[in-house]
Every structure is written in C-alpha cells, then in structure tokens.
Amino acid sequence: MRLLIVEDSSRLRTSIAKALRRSGYVVDESEDGEDGLWRAQEFVYDGLILDLMLPKLDGLDVLAALRKQGNETPALLLSARNEVADRVAGLRLGADDYLGKPFALEELLARVDALCRRSFGKRSPTVRIGDLEVDLDAKTATRGSDKLELTAREFRLLRILSLEAGKVLGRTQLEEHLYDDLTSPASNVVDATVYQLRRKLSMAGTGTSLIHTRRGQGYVMEAHS
C-alpha cells in the first residue's frame, strides 16, 4: 500500500509518515501543494493524505485538479479548519474522508486503513483466499489454523497480492507498494520477498500454492492456478 502525505508542517508530516510506515504502509512525503500534485500525477498511490492549508497550492485545489484529471485515488483531508463548511467543501470536491487537527493516531490509522480498503472495493478488513485469511487491520495472516509469522515487507506484499487477488501484478507495481520513492531497492528484492512468502505459505494450512508466476508479466494470487 503506497500513500502520499502532503503536509507543510515538517514535524507533523514526519510523525504521520513514521506511524504509517510502522503500520505497514509505504509513504511518500510532500511539503507543498505543487509538489504534492506533481507526485500524485506521476505516481500511483492507494491513498492521499492532504492538508488543506498548503503553501503554493491549497489542498482543495490539489484535490480539485486531480479529480478533474480523472484521478480517483481515495483522499483523506487533514485540516486545522474544522468548521462544517470546510468539511462539506472538501467532501463535495471529491475527498473520501476528513479529519480535523488535532487527531488521535489510532483514528488516523483506522481511517487510512478504511480508505485503502475502499480503493480496492473492500469494506471488511479481512480478505480470504482459499484457506488463507489476511486481517488488514490487525496486520496478521493465518492459513488454516496456522498463524503466519511475516516481516513488515512480506506482509506488505501479501496485502497487495491479496487485495488484488486474481490480477497479475508486475514487479514494478509490487515495488511501488514495497518501497517509497526515497528507497532504491535491489533488483531482485521483489523476487526474494515473493520466494520467502511462498515458502511460509506452503508450510501452513493445506500448503497449496497461492502465489503463481506469470512469465514475463509478474505474479498473481489465487486459490487455484
């Protein structure tokens, strides 16, 4: 899951980004509206966290520009302007959620989780593929009666594969969900992570293969090959 946070307060932006990364998200940061709009246009994100009062370009203007271009990335607005009129204006422009400052960390995380689920058309925090069950909120995975012990990177891979179950995802797409734009991953990191995940999945439950390779295209997760 890759998120973009656009917030002019560096301390708040850093704190939110850090918390989201700890929760298994890949987070890009932007400090003003122009840069945020550029990033949202250039990269594919699963969610946007936009402050309203931004230098250079207001958060509402960023959102309006994105929606005008057909960019449907779910957006959560953050703002110190917490009046009803402000919230209504944001939601009417195409925002999916609105959170007034100051806010609780857990509420932010819960809203971001819900936002990302909605971007994949999911309402429940639980995804089932065969005997595999992935709890996106608790960030746990079980197969049959076996609980899987996954690293943060492995869970990020499992989450995107399970949310996009049945779709073939290329290496670049998977990389985008594993690393932010500041990290330069090694060339085989996706393959290596897929290998580790497959190994852990095969050792639990029925042990049948869930991640399948499509040569020249990428990987797909489904209960039957």
């Binding site: 307060s9 850093t14 704190s15 850090k18 230098p55 110190a80 960390l105």
Partner: protein, 465 residues
C-alpha cells in the same frame, strides 16, 4: 426616588396642587371681598331705609315734624320688612349716650360717628357672640340730624364661603385625580422611546453587537443618548471582534502544533522502541512552537488593547542608532544568507513615539528582511524628511523574488506565511501583524508594495491619514 417617571409625576402633582391652592385661595378671598362689599351696600341701603321708614311713619301718624319720632324707643318699620338678622340703632347726632331707638338687639351697636355723606363699616362681635358687619349713616340736618348703625350677621357670608370652599375642594380633588391619570398616561407615552431604548439595550447580546439603535426616528432629546450608545456598540463590537479573532486565530494556529505533539506522544506510546532523545527533542520543538505562538499572540493583543486604552508615551529617538541596534540583533541570521543592510538616514533624524512600540515595529520589519530577503541581496532602510509631517517617511526595501502581487495583499494578515510555510525555520506569520499593530497604536500606517522596476518589496511607514 430612582424612577424618573415617579419623580416627574410627584413634581407635576405638587405643582398642580400648589397652583390649585393659590387659585382657590385667591378665589375665596375675592369671593369674600365681593360678599362683604355686597353686604356693605345692603347695610347702607338698610340704614337709609330705617331713617325713611321712621319719617314716613311720623307723617302717617300726624307727628310730622322735622325731627323723626322715636317715642317708644323703637324705630318704626312700617310696611317694610327688615329681617331678623338685621340690627340697627339710632342716635341724635348732637347727643351722646344711649341710642334713641334700636331693633333686634339686646346690646348696643358701636356708634361709628359718620360724617355727612360717609358710610363707614366695621366688623364687630356682639354681646351674644355673633359677628356682624356694622355700617353707619348720617341723616338729616342741624338738630334733626341722626346717626344710624345698621348691622347684619356675617353667618350668611361665612356659610357662602364654606360652600364655595367645599365646592373648590371637591372640584380640585377631582381635577387632581384626573390630572394624575393624565400625567401618568402622558409620562408613559412621553417616556416610551426611553423605555424602548432600555429594552433594546437589555436585549443586546454578544451576537447582536452589529445592530445599531435607530437614530433618525429617535426623539430630539434622546438623539445624543442614541449617538453615544451607538458609539459604545461600535467599540464593543470592535472589542468582541478582536477577542473572537484572537481566540479563533489562536485556536486555529494551535491545532497543528498540538497535532504534532499528540502524534509524537502517541507514537512513542505505541512504539516505545522508537522513542528516545530524538523523539523528545522533536516534541520539545512542538512545545516551543506552541509557547512562541501564545506569547506572540498575547503581545499582539496587548499592543492592540494598549492602542485602544491609552495613548502611547512620547519620546524622541535617533532613527539611525535605533536601526543599527535592531539590525545588530538580526545580523547573524542575515549573514547566514549573505543579506546586507544599507541605511540612507540623514544624521540627526529623529522619530517621535513610544520607544517600545518603535522597537517592535522596526525590529519586526528588519527581522523580516533578515529571514525572507533573497540570499546574497542588499536591503535598504531609507528615511526621507517630510514637511507635511514632523517625522520622516521610512522605507524598508528588500528583494523578494518569491513574492507575488497577490502575496503583498496578505502580508499584514495574521498567520499568513506565504510560501515560507514549508520552511521549518519559518516563524508564526505574526511579525508583520505585530509591526502593523505597533504602527496603528502610534497613529502610523504601514503599506507594502512590489517595486516593478526591481521586484523588491517596499514597506512604507507613514502617517495614518
């Protein structure tokens, strides 16, 4: 008595009562005089009648002498009736002693010794205790002349006066009652505009301070009060607006640093292994920011309030020294960006005003230069004598390539930080607001414009008008 209506009512009623008393007394005196004059005229007529009756009786009885005949010591009434409340006595003019005749009398009437053609009167008390008016008459000639005293009881006059007094009292009481009702009604109607204003004042709430009292339709006497009330409303509205703006700005601006602090604390609780010194240092930065905002806002509020409440103290300050001293405080920050300041201030150029306010004003402008002027640029502090004003016009000019015309319109707004907001070293967006508040408190005006030829920002300090 605190009620104006009651006070007016009391004074009006007292006035009416006094006027009635004076009027009634005057009337009764005039009426009494009239009654007594009538009585005197009646008594004079009666005294002539007494004399004429006797002379007529003497002729009828053959005793027709020049001198009236009072043989039985009684005056003859003839066919004319003299009522019982009339007393009379007759004396020979040349004689002294007892009267020769009297009627209806147990004692003697006073002899008034009138001259011929005169009819003196006197009010006396008789032996029977009755008060009477006595009129004297002198009739006849020589040895036939007689003096007549005729008296009539004053009881009738007294009764007439008492009846008139009772009538006046009754009419007066009725008039007083009607006057009271009318005055009460008139006062209520007359004071209705005052009551309406009082009701309107009573209904004033913090949310209704924009409303004003109706001036055009106010009674002439209340127009000064309405004017003062409207001025008061204006001051209250201004004060409330300032307080609201302060609270709103402060609450709004505090939300972000509080959100920062909360995120840092909750993150430290959720992932304690990631805490440690860096996390606390970041939290401290957020606390510093909150403290800085509160202190700056309070300073701004104090300056604005001071401008409203007390005139700033007056002093003459050497502008050149002041600018140099204040720039020194910002020099290290300016030098980091290679910003220099050149001054064009004639020697012995002084500015008048409150030293603390001048320091805030120029200090914030120079701090703004040191923070936001283009790196490596040269800023200018210029003072020009102005004949129309006894102070120099002061210009602070610095390059500001990132600033647009639209930005200039917002320069003096609170918390406006323009594109510097993303800069973690940027402050609270209150410096120029503070400078503006200081200028206003000293009756000065700050204006800003971009110079088209150089793209520099010029801030001008000039008189308010």
């Amino acid at each position: 008595m605190k009620s104006i209506r009651n006070r007016l009512l009391l004074w009006l009623l007292l006035g009416i009562a006094c006027f009635w008393l004076i009027g009634a007394t005057g009337f009764l005196f005039a009426y009494r005089s009239s009654l007594l004059a009538d009585l005197k005229a009646e008594l004079i007529t009666l005294s002539r009648q007494v004399r004429m009756n006797q002379m007529q009786a003497d002729r009828l009885t053959g005793n027709d002498t020049a001198r009236p005949h009072y043989s039985d010591g009684k005056a003859y009434a003839g066919g004319n009736t003299i009522s019982e409340d009339v007393y009379w006595q007759v004396w020979w003019a040349e004689a002294t002693g007892k009267p020769v005749a009297s009627e209806n009398l147990t004692g003697e009437l006073p002899r008034l010794y009138p001259e011929y053609g005169e009819n003196p009167t006197r009010i006396v008390a008789l032996e029977n205790g009755r008060r009477v008016m006595v009129a004297g008459g002198f009739y006849g000639m020589g040895g036939h002349a007689s003096e007549v005293s005729v008296a009539k009881d004053l009881e009738a006059v007294k009764n007439a006066l008492l009846r008139s007094f009772a009538l006046a009292l009754g009419i007066g009481g009725l008039f007083a009652a009607l006057a009271t009702l009318w005055v009460f009604y008139a006062l209520r109607n007359g004071l209705a505009p005052l009551t309406a204003i009082a009701d309107q004042v009573g209904a004033v709430e913090p949310d209704s301070l924009k409303e004003r009292f109706e001036f055009e339709n106010a009674p002439l006497e209340l127009k000064p009060v309405v004017t003062r009330l409207n001025e008061l409303m204006e001051r209250m509205e201004s004060g409330f607006d300032r307080e609201r703006r302060f609270s709103s700005d402060l609450a709004h601006e505090m939300r972000t640093p509080i959100a920062e602090l909360r995120m840092q604390i909750e993150s430290a609780i959720k992932w304690p292994e990631e805490g440690g010194k860096p996390a606390w240092e970041t939290a401290l930065e957020s606390v510093d920011r909150i403290e800085g905002i509160v202190q700056t806002m309070l300073r701004l509020a104090r300056i604005e309030q001071r401008g409203d409440e007390e005139p700033p103290s007056e002093a003459s300050l050497d502008l050149s020294s002041l600018v140099e001293e204040l720039w020194e405080e910002n020099r290290s920050q300016a030098e980091e960006s290679g910003i220099r300041l050149s001054t064009k201030i004639p020697t012995e150029t002084n500015v008048a005003g409150d030293p603390a306010l001048w320091r805030h004003l120029l200090g914030n402008l120079l701090s703004n230069v040191a923070t936001y002027a283009d790196p490596g640029s040269e800023a200018q502090a210029i003072a020009e004598p102005n004949e129309a004003w006894n102070q120099p016009l002061i210009r602070i000019v610095n390059t500001a390539s990132k600033l647009s015309e639209e930005d200039v319109d917002h320069l003096f707004e609170r918390f406006w930080r323009g594109n510097s907001a993303a800069d973690p070293t940027s402050r609270y967006g209150l410096g120029l607001s503070l400078a503006n508040a200081c200028a206003t408190a000293m009756g000065l005006h700050l204006s800003a414009k971009l110079l088209p030829e150089t793209g520099s920002l010029e801030i001008l300090i000039a008189p308010e008008d």
